[in-house]
């Protein structure tokens, strides 16, 4: 089994709904550590994804990711816009021309996206950012059993969830949360929360499609 172009389009549509449903919560999380706009920025982001759905409907996976990435950069602003935009653009580069991704190919693609975030944002694991959910998810994928992609994606989402929860125990070193320092302890990072939603939606999408 592999991730098809259609899986990815389904995933993106599902993710639009997930973000809209969680926007208030993401704003709330960002109020505690930052400036309270993360949910609103994500909503502008997924609205831009929605606006591109028609244009990408018949494109290859690389083009889909790249188009989405550029749309996010143009629509979101803030810290998360360039970072998530860069992630998608880099994922698009890695998956250029592809119609399906094997688990190994998705792992490579995802890794390229994460490297894009690190290159642009200069943060490391442990800085209390989205990376603290994304990187454990990547590690999980790398260690996964090639045979069942749905299980691998679910485990990766679970790793992201744990990473998200662990951000509560970190004193932020990057982004706006770094200004609050110790006073941010006990609060999870909104970017990490979103990373989990993103990966969990992928796992659920593939899970649904495979039981069809």
């Amino acid at each position: 089994m592999a991730i098809t172009r259609d899986n990815i389009l389904t995933w993106l549509i599902a993710y639009i709904n997930v973000v809209n449903a969680n926007a208030d919560e993401l704003n709330r999380l960002d109020s505690a550590l930052g400036d309270g706009d993360f949910g609103a920025s994500m909503q502008r982001g997924v609205q831009a994804i929605g606006n591109k759905m028609q244009a990408i409907a018949d494109k290859d996976i690389g083009t889909i990711f790249k188009t989405i990435g550029m749309a996010l950069v143009s629509a979101m602003g803030g810290t998360s816009g360039p970072l998530l935009g860069t992630m998608f653009i880099q994922m698009g580069g890695k998956s250029a021309g592809k119609q399906v991704l094997t688990l190994a190919e998705w792992t490579e693609t995802f890794q390229a996206g994460i490297e894009g975030i690190m290159m642009r944002g200069k943060a490391q694991v442990g800085d209390k950012t989205m990376l603290d959910a994304l990187v454990p998810a990547l590690e999980s994928l790398k260690a996964a059993d090639e045979t069942d992609i749905v299980i691998a994606l679910r485990q990766s989402a679970q790793a992201a969830k744990k990473g998200r929860d662990d951000t509560a125990n970190i004193i932020a070193k990057k982004g706006r949360a770094s200004y609050v320092g110790e006073r941010g302890l006990g609060n999870i990072d909104p970017g990490a929360a979103n990373a989990y939603l993103f990966l969990n939606t992928l796992a659920e999408t593939l899970g649904m499609e495979s039981t069809d």
Binding site: D35, P82, V180
Partner: protein, 332 residues
């Protein structure tokens, strides 16, 4: 939440339409992407100053577009840095062939979006330099963190560099002046109440009735610490001492003193703060030779203020005094 707005998502564009209607003699306003340029842009042969940042800090930056200050400004969503294509279009509209200086407040998002815009602008053959303001002494500076925030000094950089640009000086010179202003300026803020981000609908933080947030950022980010509400005579030293010791400022220095309102604090309180500041600096032998008192870099309806001190030399003083004609600052 009580605000004079329509829908939260329309705040920025409707305020821009208000500016467009009120100040057609000063600026032209463009939408999608959103930016504001001075009415006579591009000014041929002049370096163009372009700034931008999240909305919610008005009159910064749109109120500073005009002769003697900014050539263009790009407002993002509330408290959200604008996107690269806004700055790219603003730079293209403002560029008079002598290059563009981006004035960027030091926040992760602002730096990244302006960086991407600079890359795009250079690809279109526009010479771009960037100055980053980071004057907020409330945040400990370190290579390993996001660094100090850009706050009040940004207004002074825009005014002073704007005057230098009006003299048709080179991009390198103007950048150097802007950096000198930033290097010689320090700020600190205090909040008595939280702001409320429109789409969030609730205060970003909650402060007990008898406490204030010392070292507040302009986006409602928490500050250094909570302290008990106190008379201005006690608050002002708490704000000024970290400023004075940081640069440091010394007896005999000439300074520009900028008392800034956070949006919900009325004019009368700012002058009481200024009176206190004036007495404190006098007691240290520091001379206030220029001043600015008003709400110029705000945080929505937050109550509170910030104090910025800028060490002046003769050149900076002359540039400060030079004529300026914008919606929010006007003299000469």
């Amino acid at each position: 939440m009580k605000k004079l707005i329509n829908k939260p998502e329309d705040v920025v564009v409707e305020a821009m339409r208000g500016i467009e209607a009120a100040h057609a003699d000063l600026v032209k306003v463009y939408y999608e992407p959103n930016y504001i340029v001075r009415v006579d842009a591009p000014v041929v042969g002049k370096v163009a100053l372009v700034s931008g940042g999240g909305a919610g800090h008005e009159p910064m930056h749109g109120g500073f577009v005009g002769m003697g200050m900014l050539d263009a400004a790009a407002p993002g969503a509330i408290f959200t840095s604008p996107t690269p294509d806004q700055m790219l279009e603003a730079a293209k509209a403002a560029n008079g062939g002598a290059g563009v200086l981006f004035i960027v407040k030091n926040y992760t998002g602002d730096c990244m979006n302006f960086d991407m815009a600079a890359e795009l602008a250079r690809m279109e053959g526009i010479e771009v330099e960037t100055v980053i303001t980071n004057d907020d002494v409330a945040v400990l500076d370190s290579l390993y963190t996001a660094g100090r925030r850009g706050v009040g000094v940004t207004v002074l950089v825009e005014k002073i560099a704007g005057a230098a640009a009006e003299q048709h000086r080179s991009l390198a010179e103007i950048k150097a002046i802007a950096e000198r202003v930033n290097a010689n300026g320090r700020s600190m803020g205090v909040a008595l109440t939280s702001c409320t981000v429109p789409h969030r609908g609730e205060p970003t933080f909650s402060l007990p009735d008898d406490e204030m947030e010392l070292g507040i950022g302009i986006h409602g980010e928490p500050g250094r610490r909570r302290v008990k509400m106190a008379p201005v005579a006690e608050i002002v030293p708490l704000m000024v001492e970290p400023i004075l010791s940081d640069l440091p400022f010394k007896a005999g220095d000439n300074v520009l003193a900028f008392v800034n309102g956070m949006g919900g604090t009325p004019n009368v309180e700012l002058y009481i703060v200024y009176n206190e500041l004036n007495q404190l600096l006098k007691s240290r032998g520091i001379n206030i030779t220029r001043n600015l008192v008003g709400s110029y870099i705000t945080s929505l309806e937050m109550q509170g203020c910030s104090i910025t001190l800028l060490k002046l030399d003769d050149e900076l003083t002359v540039l400060w005094d030079a004529p300026v004609k914008t919606a929010a600052l006007r003299w000469g």
